[in-house]
Symmetry: C2
Subunit: 444 residues, 2 copies
């Protein structure tokens, strides 16, 4: 009987185990988890912080006990500290017992995840500065929020996490300042579309400071080029750094942004060592370039592929479009494929079409504005990317775009799609069709 050791017992790691056992039911499995929880939704953390989700337990899909009942040797508060590829064993440290031991493996799955990027600034280690990546982080943050009368919150970074954490603290009636070094929030959107998100954040009551570098922290204060902001709590949302040190130290090859390099079957450069999730890279379906996309969807899909292959099956992960969706209050944001900047970097010649329309028929109650942008290959008319910002119901349309992009559709083909219409759901021409038709004019 061969042994699989999984580092990281989040839903990805556990999905990999399930996939592996479908092919090799008697696989021995040890899951090493640094934290106190298994199989939880990290994406749900902002809603725990905001109070929409009451209890940490709601975010946990399956407890350690349930996994153990399923014959998985889950070891919580254990950390992998070294990896010996020749001896095929991993060194484990019991964080509570403070002992260290060796664990042999036949297959090793690295699901070490990522961590919030912490810039090297004075005061960065002050306890009021928080990242939100693990459920343990979240529990500590919620405890801290409930302990202090949290009136002033500074969010550093205007990406998805920044957006969602800002909403969370608005729900808690805090004054929220968002500080972003770049000239726009949502670097994963074109500037014009990012500007719509900034405007929405202002409208929802967030004080947004763009082009503003944080220079350091003092207790209760965030120092920036734009002045000093009071802060009971600071949340870092600048980006995610892959936890690739274990792999790197063992000589496993790293790729883009120091994420672990993998092939389409999620194999690392070391025989029998696999990686999946935020610690490893993906390939972009449009550009063909390696990318680091630390999203739950990608992690889950990669993990399943890794597990199938570990179990002796055959599966590949084709790559990503970087599809993402988020919201702040009633403003929804989504993207897929290439932005203008990404298209230019990948060598595409493109045109951009932006259309304002409505989420529902204009006359239907609750109809709200939405903006759709298409990035379209010049000449062929192929859709390269799409971005949506708008009111409730706007953003899930990104899936239609992701499907069309995957199929290699041109805007002419998209304009002909038989999409659904009824007044509570869209105008008679769905915004996707309207945008495709407008883009078609540019192509012609």
């Amino acid at each position: 009987m061969s042994r699989l050791v999984v580092i990281g017992a989040d839903p990805g790691g556990m999905a990999a185990i399930s996939a592996a056992r479908q092919h090799t039911p008697d696989l021995e499995v040890v899951a090493i988890e640094r934290g106190r929880h298994t199989s939880y939704s990290a994406c749900g953390i902002p809603y725990l912080v905001g109070g929409e989700v009451d209890d940490v337990a709601e975010l946990v899909a399956r407890s350690p006990a349930a996994h153990r009942a399923n014959d998985i040797d889950v070891r919580l508060r254990h950390e992998a500290t070294a990896l010996d590829l020749d001896l095929r064993r991993v060194e484990i440290r019991d964080l509570d017992g403070s002992r260290t031991y060796q664990l042999d493996f036949d297959h090793l799955l690295l699901g070490t995840g990522g961590r919030p990027f912490r810039p090297d600034l004075p005061g960065i280690d002050l306890p009021f500065i928080r990242g939100v990546q693990t459920l343990d982080d979240a529990e500590e943050l919620v405890a801290q929020v409930e302990a202090v009368d949290c009136q002033h919150v500074v969010v550093v970074g205007g990406g998805y996490i920044g957006l969602e954490i800002a909403e969370a603290f608005l729900h808690r009636q805090a004054h929220v300042v968002l500080v972003e070094q770049a000239p726009q929030v949502m670097a994963s959107l074109d500037p014009e579309i990012g500007a719509l998100v900034t405007a929405a954040m202002h409208r929802h009551g967030v004080e947004v400071h763009l082009d503003t570098a944080v220079t350091g922290f003092e207790p209760g204060k965030v120092l920036t080029a734009d002045g000093v902001f009071d802060a009971d709590i600071v949340v870092l949302g600048i980006g995610v750094t892959p936890n690739s040190e274990l792999a790197d130290a063992a000589g496993i090859r790293l790729g883009v942004r120091r994420s672990i390099r993998v092939d389409r079957r999620q194999r690392t450069s070391a025989e029998g060592v696999w990686a999946a999730g935020d610690c490893c890279e993906s390939r972009h379906l449009m550009s063909g370039e390696p990318v680091h996309v630390p999203l739950g969807t990608v992690a889950n899909r990669q993990s399943r592929v890794a597990g199938t292959n570990i179990g002796g099956g055959y599966a590949t992960f084709p790559g990503v479009l970087g599809t993402a969706i988020s919201k702040i209050c009633d403003t929804e944001v989504a993207r897929t494929g290439l932005t203008s900047l990404e298209a230019a970097r990948a060598g595409f010649v493109y045109d951009v079409t932006t259309v304002e329309s409505t989420t529902r028929a204009r006359y239907y109650p609750g109809s709200d504005l939405m903006t759709t942008r298409f990035v379209v290959e010049r000449g062929t008319g192929r859709l390269l990317g799409a971005q949506i910002v708008g009111g409730a119901g706007a953003a899930k349309r990104i899936d239609t775009c992701a499907t069309a992009i995957t199929a290699g559709m041109t805007v002419e083909q998209i304009a002909q799609l038989d999409l659904s219409y009824a007044p509570p759901f869209s105008g008679v021409w769905d915004p996707i069709l309207v945008t495709a038709r407008a883009a078609l004019k540019s192509v012609r």
Copy 2:
């Protein structure tokens, strides 16, 4: 200068004029309209009846005066009564002035629409029995509803119109009885999915009687095999009959369900005579068969194609998937492609996969159940059709299915799509992906 005569001044007819004039700016245009309104959303009528839309004017995108300012000779309350293909002229009756005259045309666009099917039953012409197809119908219905204390409403027919009109009268606090001759509501869904809609209607307070034929009407009463129902108003939602008599009398070829036969450029069998919308047929993209799909999306797209061709451009209407969406209260319903029955009739060998999931992450507030069904070609795994019933946010996912079907995707390809995820929008595996994966197991 050549003259285009358009019969029917709804948004379709007017879109055709606009498309034609893009190619031939000096085209003389006469638009003949039997009713009192132009360019209105017939799909918005149930919301006018229900009171979500206050004023008829909100449903009117462009008034007759606006069209006239745009050099379109709009003639309201005029009706085309005969068509002479040899002399290339149409006989028009002024409904208010009661005079009849001839109008020459170079091009004729038949946008005569459809009318609610009225079964030949005793009492069918009683004034409390209503159809809702035109805005004039709607105005009369609303006036009647406001005149009588409308406590009991019987809706005959459980299709989209029946669903939406039932919701409208629930909003008006009426007791609503829905009578359906078939063993299920929503004949355009598989029986198991239709049963979910029936259950939702009951839950929302509609008294649904299936397998119940109406045998006749008496003032204030609907007679059925299942007993007599009191009714202050009866609304017919049994189906739409194409208004094809004018074309038929002139010898123009009819097709399925007596709708006007057209080719892909929307040409009828008569030179220079075109048709678009509820009066004419379409081709189903999956089965290749002619179908009659009286929906606003189809009407608008066909009209544009007709207009482009009339103006001297070149356009084709590729066909329909029969994509449709609707809701009753907070239960959404959508479909695209082929149902089981349609797939069988078209000669496909297929399997069906039905998956229950949630509209949002399970732990996220407002998450509701949704059911997704795929009809999949056996052997190839190609998606043939999809149906969705579920809570708020469920149904617009049908567009992703429509796009995948159009692209000829297999469920294996769909399962690999990079669809969006965040807890307010879906589980980490969007229901479309979950259903594709479940279907993939059947295919394998």
